[in-house]
């Protein structure tokens, strides 16, 4: 009851109220209030996550699991970053002479240094790895197998060329009145007609999927996130 039914009732009531409030002018701000609460709850969730991370790594270290040294590195960098961020280490003092008034990521602070030289470069580098994966995926996946795969391949080919100056140069011999058949022209056509149609159908479908799934949550048909095991 307390573990399963009440949480579902909370979800059902809260969701229904939000839907009804949407149509009442004086209650239209409720969604924003919920949004604010969610922000606060998300901040609490960071604490839950941080403690979970610290516990996992402590466990690895104390059990001397393989790779426990890396767990120690994770734990150290976590604690150092948390410390300098929460205590505003190195934040330049504001007019009152205290660092507490300054921004926690003010230029020159220890937290700023970690952000600028450890956080930022590493995440952008992971992101940059994608350039390599795009190349290997292109080599591996775009094969002339059946109609569907061929369409995928041909479109990618045309758009790739159309998005560079090379495409414009290759088809520069085509006269102005047939500009729709140049690579940039074909790209615009594909993006504007076929891609738009495909995207719209996907969006309409997803909207219906979201609506049905939301309703299943509100009706209590989907309670898997509460661990009741029934889908």
């Amino acid at each position: 009851m307390l573990r399963n039914t009440i949480p579902w009732l909370i979800a059902a009531c809260a969701g229904s109220v939000i839907i009804a409030a949407y149509f009442v002018p004086s209650a239209q701000g409720w969604q924003d209030t919920i949004g604010q609460w969610f922000e606060v709850l998300a901040s609490f969730a960071f604490v839950l996550g941080g403690v979970n991370l610290a516990m996992q790594n402590l466990q690895k270290i104390s059990a001397r699991e393989p790779g426990w040294g890396y767990a120690a590195v994770t734990l150290m960098s976590f604690l150092v970053t948390l410390g300098v961020g929460l205590f505003k280490v190195g934040v330049p003092a504001d007019s009152s002479g205290s660092r507490w008034g300054g921004s926690y990521q003010a230029e020159g602070s220890a937290f700023w240094w970690l952000y600028e030289y450890a956080y930022n470069p590493t995440i952008s580098t992971i992101f940059a790895l994608l350039a390599f994966y795009v190349a290997s995926a292109a080599f591996r996946a775009f094969r002339w197998k059946n109609t569907e795969a061929t369409l995928l391949l041909a479109t990618a080919f045309i758009v790739l060329l159309g998005r560079t100056y090379a495409g414009a140069v290759l088809t520069s011999a085509i006269p102005e009145e047939y500009s729709a058949f140049t690579f940039p022209g074909l790209t615009t056509l594909i993006m504007g007609v076929v891609n738009t149609a495909g995207q719209r159908a996907i969006m309409i479908g997803i909207a219906l999927g979201v609506a049905a799934t939301s309703l299943k949550v509100l009706l209590g048909i989907n309670r898997s996130y509460l661990g009741s095991g029934d889908g």
Binding site: Y115, S124, A135, R143, L160, T164
Partner: protein, 285 residues
């Protein structure tokens, strides 16, 4: 041709590295021409009367900076040239330093001679958590989310924002977006319900998602580095002082693009040649 079938993908990685690194080291430049979707945005900013209020939301994190920073810079430069008054903000927690960097490098750096003043010519609202809820809230009340600017000054004390009640008091919205929350949310909660002109800069991944919103909910898209490069060229044609390499970051970045694109095209061809020659049964998937 058997080697193509068993090609270690690390050779592909190496080829990609060279295709991007060499043009950068040799500093090659390739030409560029603005396309209509970019020109729509350019013309809108150009046609707004001087001193219009333009909101620019930096909805990306450092991880997309390579792709989006040049267009953010180009848009901010254009607003400076036209003396538009800028309201800057971000919906991404790690976007805050990016806004500050744009201010210190461009507004207070390159355009130091104009003497643009914080609060009068531009306002940095900073970051508020809440994602799309922030947009929804400022659509009706700017002060409900941003009672003060990033430095803590009440909006009523800033000449630029003193008369701005909500988004409807702005002349143009621009979102430079790398995902959620970003262009889709600006369309959903700002341009679509309020019928406000919205221009977006998008990463290449986001851009296809923006096309369905054209032209009703979006007036134009700058798609990835290419869009930024085209914008820089358009800017350079109108303002010759911006047609120098230091102000055309994206144009410079198009050279590695060209070679990497050609490499990928070559890889697709090679992959198919390999498949045709050895005629595998089944296939990769």
């Amino acid at each position: 041709m058997a080697w193509l079938q068993t090609l270690d993908r690390r050779w592909i990685f190496l080829a990609m590295l060279l295709a991007v690194a060499l043009p950068q080291l040799l500093q090659v430049r390739v030409p560029e021409k603005p396309t209509p979707l970019v020109l729509n945005v350019f013309r809108k900013i150009e046609e707004l009367p001087e001193g219009s209020r333009v909101l620019i939301s930096f909805d990306y994190s450092p991880s997309s900076e390579g792709e989006l920073a040049p267009m953010a810079a180009a848009l901010v430069r254009h607003c400076c040239e036209k003396r538009h008054r800028m309201v800057l903000m971000t919906l991404w927690p790690d976007g805050k330093p990016l806004v500050e960097r744009a201010i210190s490098r461009i507004i207070e750096g390159e355009y130091a001679a104009l003497g643009l003043q914080a609060g009068r010519d531009y306002v940095n609202l900073g970051y508020r958590p809440g994602k799309e809820v922030v947009i929804k809230t400022i659509a009706t009340s700017l002060r409900a989310e941003f009672p003060t600017d990033d430095a803590g000054t009440p909006l009523d004390d800033l000449p630029l924002t003193a008369e701005v009640t909500n988004l409807q008091d702005l002349d143009l919205l621009i979102s430079i977006s790398a995902g959620f929350p970003g262009l889709k949310e600006w369309v959903q909660y700002a341009s679509s319900p309020l019928k406000l002109p919205l221009a977006v800069g998008a990463t290449a991944v986001q851009a296809p998602q923006a096309y369905p919103y054209i032209p009703r909910q979006l007036l134009g898209i700058l798609a990835a580095v290419k869009g930024a490069a085209e914008y820089e060229v358009a800017l350079g044609e109108r303002y010759p002082n911006l047609a120098i390499p230091e102000r055309q970051d994206a144009v410079r970045r198009m050279a590695p693009q060209l070679w990497a694109h050609l490499l990928i095209i070559a890889l697709i061809v090679l992959g198919n040649v390999a498949a045709l020659v050895s005629r595998p049964r089944g296939g990769v998937r």
